[in-house]
C-alpha cells in the first residue's frame, strides 16, 4: 500500500513534468532561428510599425529571407540590444540604434562597416542627408544608415498668435520666444505659453536643454574634457530654461516628456512647443490632433549661434555577431531605400514616409504636397546642423544634444534628475548645476578622458 501509492505519486509527478516539458518547446512569435531568418530589433515608434506592416512586400521580393521583429520601447530596446551585443549572443541581425550609440559601438568593434554594401549604385548613398550620414560614421566609415531623422524646431499656434496680435519672426531668438510665452500663457483656459520637456532622462529633458545651452554659448565639456556645467553661459541657459518652463510652461512639467508635450499641444493646451521635428507629422494628423492646419513651424530659437537644432536619427545597423550579414543588408537596403519611401507613400499615405533620411524624399512632388506644412522646415533644420561643432566652442566628440561617450547614459540621466528637481522647485538651478558639474568632472576623470 505504502510503496504502491508512493510510486503512483512519483509517476503522476513525472507525467506532469514530461507533459510540461513537451508543451514548452516555445510558440514562437514567428518561428525558429533557422537559415535565412533575419531578426530585427526595433523601437516601438509609428514609423517602425509601418515597416512591420510592409515587410510582406520585402519577403515576396526575397523568397529566401524571413523577417522577424522584436519591438520594444526605446529604453528597453537599448538595454536589450546592448546586452545582446556585449555578451556576443548574436540574437539580432539588424538593430535599431540612434546617432548617440553608432560611433561608440563602432569604436567598440560591435558594428559591421556598411561602406562596401552601401557603395552599390542602386542604393545611392550620397542621397542620405549629409549631417545624418556624418553622425552615423566613425573615422570616416559608415556604420549605420538612417531609417528616419529629426532635428528640432519651434512649433507654434498661428491662430493664437494672430488673435493676440503677435508675429513670429522667421528666425526667433529665445528672448523673443520667452516674451511670446508670457503673453500667450493662459492657465485659466488651459493653454500653456510653451511646452518644454522636464522629464528626467538624457533623451528627454536634456535634449531641448542641451541645444539651448549650446546656443547660449555654453557646453558640457571643453576640448580637454573639463566639465563646463557651471560656466556663466551654461548657467545662464539653464536658468533661462527652468524659469521659462516654471513660469509659462505646461502644468506638471517635471513629468512631461515628448509624448506629454505632444498630447498637450495636439489637444490645444500649448501655444508653442520646442521639440523634435517629427512632432509635426502627428500634429498635422487630423485623426489624433485638434490643431491640424493651425500650426506654424520656425527654426530652433537661437541666441549666439546661427542655428540651434539638434540631430537624431533612428538608424539600422548590422551587429558584428550576425550570422546573416548579407541577408541583413538586403533588408537594411530595402528599408532605407527610395523604393521603400515610395511604397509607404502609395500604400500608407505620403505623410507617413520616413522623414529626415534622404534628400530625394523632399523632391518627391507627392511628399511635398502632403507634408507641405512641415517638410521644408524639417529639411532645413536637419541640413543646418553641424554635428562636429554645434555650439560656439570646439568639442571633442560628434553630436549635438548629448556627449558621445558610453558614460553619458548614466551621467546624463543623473544630471537630468537634478534639472528636473530644479524645474519642480525642489532646489535652485545653481544647486543643481553644482552637483551636475561634480558628476561630470568625476565621469571625465574616471573615464580617463582628461589624461589623454
Amino acid at each position: 500500500m505504502k510503496t504502491k501509492s508512493r510510486s503512483r505519486t512519483v509517476l503522476a509527478a513525472s507525467v506532469a513534468i514530461t507533459t510540461f516539458a513537451a508543451a514548452c518547446s516555445g510558440a514562437g512569435a514567428g518561428g525558429g532561428d533557422d537559415e535565412g531568418t533575419v531578426t530585427i530589433a526595433t523601437v516601438a515608434n509609428p514609423q517602425m510599425q509601418d515597416i512591420e506592416k510592409l515587410t510582406s512586400v520585402f519577403e515576396k521580393e526575397h523568397p529566401g529571407i524571413e523577417v522577424k521583429f522584436v519591438t520594444l520601447p526605446e529604453n528597453e530596446l537599448r538595454d536589450k540590444v546592448t546586452q545582446d551585443i556585449a555578451t556576443q549572443s548574436g540574437q539580432f541581425d539588424v538593430v535599431t540604434i540612434g546617432t548617440y550609440e553608432t560611433p561608440i559601438w563602432a569604436e567598440n568593434g560591435w558594428l559591421t562597416s556598411l561602406d562596401e554594401y552601401a557603395s552599390d549604385p542602386a542604393y545611392d548613398v550620397d542621397d542620405l542627408l549629409p549631417p545624418v550620414r556624418e553622425a552615423l560614421s566613425f573615422e570616416d566609415r559608415l556604420y549605420a544608415v538612417p531609417f528616419y531623422g529629426e532635428s528640432s524646431f519651434l512649433m507654434y499656434r498661428k491662430d493664437l498668435f494672430t488673435k493676440a496680435g503677435l508675429e513670429m519672426p522667421a528666425q526667433p531668438t529665445w528672448h523673443q520666444v520667452a516674451g511670446f510665452a508670457e503673453k500667450l500663457h493662459d492657465p485659466k483656459n488651459k493653454v500653456a505659453g510653451i511646452c518644454l520637456r522636464g522629464l528626467p532622462g538624457w533623451g528627454e529633458v536634456l535634449a531641448p536643454l542641451n541645444s539651448m545651452i549650446l546656443t547660449f554659448g555654453g557646453q558640457w565639456y571643453d576640448e580637454n574634457w573639463h566639465a563646463q556645467l557651471t560656466s556663466p553661459e551654461t548657467t545662464h541657459a539653464v536658468k533661462f530654461y527652468v524659469d521659462l518652463v516654471r513660469k509659462y510652461g505646461e502644468a506638471g512639467a517635471p513629468n512631461s516628456g515628448f509624448s506629454e508635450c505632444l498630447t498637450a499641444t495636439g489637444q490645444g493646451n500649448a501655444a508653442m512647443w520646442y521639440d523634435a521635428t517629427v512632432g509635426a507629422s502627428s500634429l498635422e494628423d487630423e485623426k489624433t490632433s485638434k490643431v491640424a492646419g493651425k500650426m506654424g513651424y520656425v527654426p530652433a530659437p537661437t541666441v549666439k549661434t546661427d542655428h540651434a537644432g539638434w540631430l537624431w536619427a533612428w538608424s539600422l545597423a548590422i551587429p558584428e555577431t550576425s550570422q546573416q550579414k548579407d541577408s541583413a543588408w538586403e533588408f537594411v537596403k530595402w528599408a532605407t531605400s527610395k523604393e521603400y519611401h515610395k511604397l509607404v507613400g502609395e500604400k500608407l499615405g505620403w505623410t507617413r514616409v520616413p522623414p529626415g533620411a534622404r534628400a530625394s524624399t523632399y523632391e518627391t512632388p507627392e511628399y511635398q504636397q502632403a507634408a507641405s506644412a512641415f517638410a521644408e522646415p524639417t529639411l532645413n533644420a536637419i541640413q543646418n546642423v553641424d554635428v562636429h561643432q554645434p555650439g560656439l566652442h570646439e568639442q571633442p566628440w560628434i553630436g549635438v544634444q548629448y556627449v558621445s561617450i558610453p558614460e553619458f547614459q548614466d551621467l546624463g540621466t543623473r544630471v537630468s534628475q537634478e534639472i528636473s528637481a530644479a524645474i519642480a522647485g525642489q532646489q535652485s538651478v545653481d544647486e543643481a548645476l553644482a552637483k551636475a558639474q561634480r558628476m561630470a568632472e568625476e565621469t571625465a576623470k574616471q573615464g580617463g578622458y582628461q589624461g589623454n
Binding site: 501509492s5 520594444l72 520601447p73
Partner: protein, 280 residues
C-alpha cells in the same frame, strides 16, 4: 472544516456599516484604474488623452482589431506555457518541501526556511547578467522552457511559505486519528492532508499564476523572437512618438483576461484559501 459563514443582516451594527462602506470605497478606488483601462480600450486615440478626461464617447473596436492584426496568439501561447508550466511545477515541488518544513520537520528546518526566502531578497536585476550568459552558453536563450524554470524558481519560496502555513493549521488530532485508524503515509497525504489544504493550494497556485503571468523583467531580458510573453507584447505599444494610450489599454485588457478568468474559476476556493481559514 466548517463552511464560511455569510454575514447576516440580523447581526448588523452601526460599526459594521461604516467598515463595510470603507471596504467598498477602498475596493472601488483600487478597481477604478482597471475599469478606466477597460473603458479606454474602446476609445479613439485622441479621446484617450484629453484633459479633462472624456467620459462619454461612441465605443469602437478599432484598437482591439489592430491588436489582433499584430499576431497576438504566439505571445499568448508563450505566456500560457510559461505560467501554467511553472505553476504546476511550483506546486509539485513546494508541497513536499513545505511538508518537510512543517509536519515532519527536517534537521535545521529554520535555516532551510530562511534560505528559501533569502533567495527573494536579491533584486532580479542583480542576477540577470550571469543568468543571461549561462542561458546563452547552454543554448537556452529565447526559450520558453528556460523562462518557465526561472518563474518556477522565482515563485517557489513564496509557495513553500504559503503551503507551509496551511499545513501548520491542520489540526494535529485529525492526523493522529488517521494514523490510529491505520492510514499509511500515502493515504495520509492523499486522503487527509491534500483535501484539507486544497483551498490553500488553489490560492497559492493562483498567486504563482498571477506573478508569472505579469512578470516582465525576465521576460523582456531573456527572450527575443521565439519566447516573448504577453507583457513584452504590451510594451510594443509604448512609443515615444505619438499617442498610444487607447491601444495600450485595449492590449492590456486582453492581457488581463486570462488572469481574471483563472481568478473567477478559483473564486470559491480562493476566499477560503486567502483568508487563511482554510482548515479551521
Amino acid at each position: 472544516m466548517s463552511t464560511v459563514i455569510a454575514p447576516s443582516w440580523r447581526r448588523v451594527r452601526p460599526g459594521t456599516v461604516v467598515t463595510g462602506a470603507l471596504a467598498w470605497a477602498a475596493a472601488l478606488v483600487l478597481f477604478f484604474p482597471v475599469l478606466w483601462m477597460f473603458v479606454t480600450g474602446f476609445k479613439q486615440e485622441a479621446q484617450a488623452s484629453t484633459d479633462p478626461p472624456t467620459w462619454l464617447f461612441t465605443p469602437t473596436l478599432e484598437q482591439f482589431q489592430a491588436i489582433l492584426g499584430r499576431n497576438f496568439t504566439p505571445y499568448l501561447l508563450n505566456s500560457l506555457m510559461a505560467t501554467v508550466g511553472s505553476t504546476v511545477l511550483v506546486i509539485l515541488l513546494a508541497t513536499p518541501a513545505a511538508y518537510a518544513l512543517s509536519l515532519a520537520p527536517v534537521a535545521r528546518w529554520k535555516d532551510a526556511l530562511f534560505f528559501f526566502i533569502s533567495t527573494r531578497m536579491m533584486p532580479p536585476v542583480a542576477i540577470i547578467l550571469p543568468l543571461y550568459i549561462i542561458a546563452n552558453n547552454i543554448g537556452m536563450l529565447d526559450n520558453i522552457t528556460m523562462l518557465s524554470l526561472i518563474y518556477t524558481v522565482m515563485n517557489l519560496p513564496i509557495a513553500v511559505w504559503m503551503i507551509r502555513s496551511f499545513l501548520l493549521e491542520l489540526p494535529k488530532e485529525v492526523l493522529e486519528a488517521a494514523r490510529v485508524d491505520g492510514a499509511g503515509f500515502g493515504t495520509e497525504i492523499r486522503r487527509i492532508i491534500l483535501p484539507m489544504i486544497a483551498p490553500g493550494l488553489a490560492a497559492t497556485a493562483l498567486i504563482c499564476f498571477i506573478f508569472a503571468w505579469n512578470e516582465f523583467f525576465f521576460a523582456v531580458s531573456m527572450t527575443a523572437t521565439n519566447a516573448p510573453t504577453v507583457p513584452v507584447f504590451l510594451t510594443g505599444f509604448v512609443t515615444s512618438e505619438g499617442l498610444f494610450l487607447a491601444r495600450l489599454s485595449a492590449a492590456a485588457t486582453m492581457a488581463a483576461l486570462p488572469v481574471i478568468l483563472a481568478g473567477w474559476v478559483a473564486q470559491k476556493w480562493l476566499v477560503r484559501g486567502l483568508s487563511l481559514g482554510a482548515v479551521k
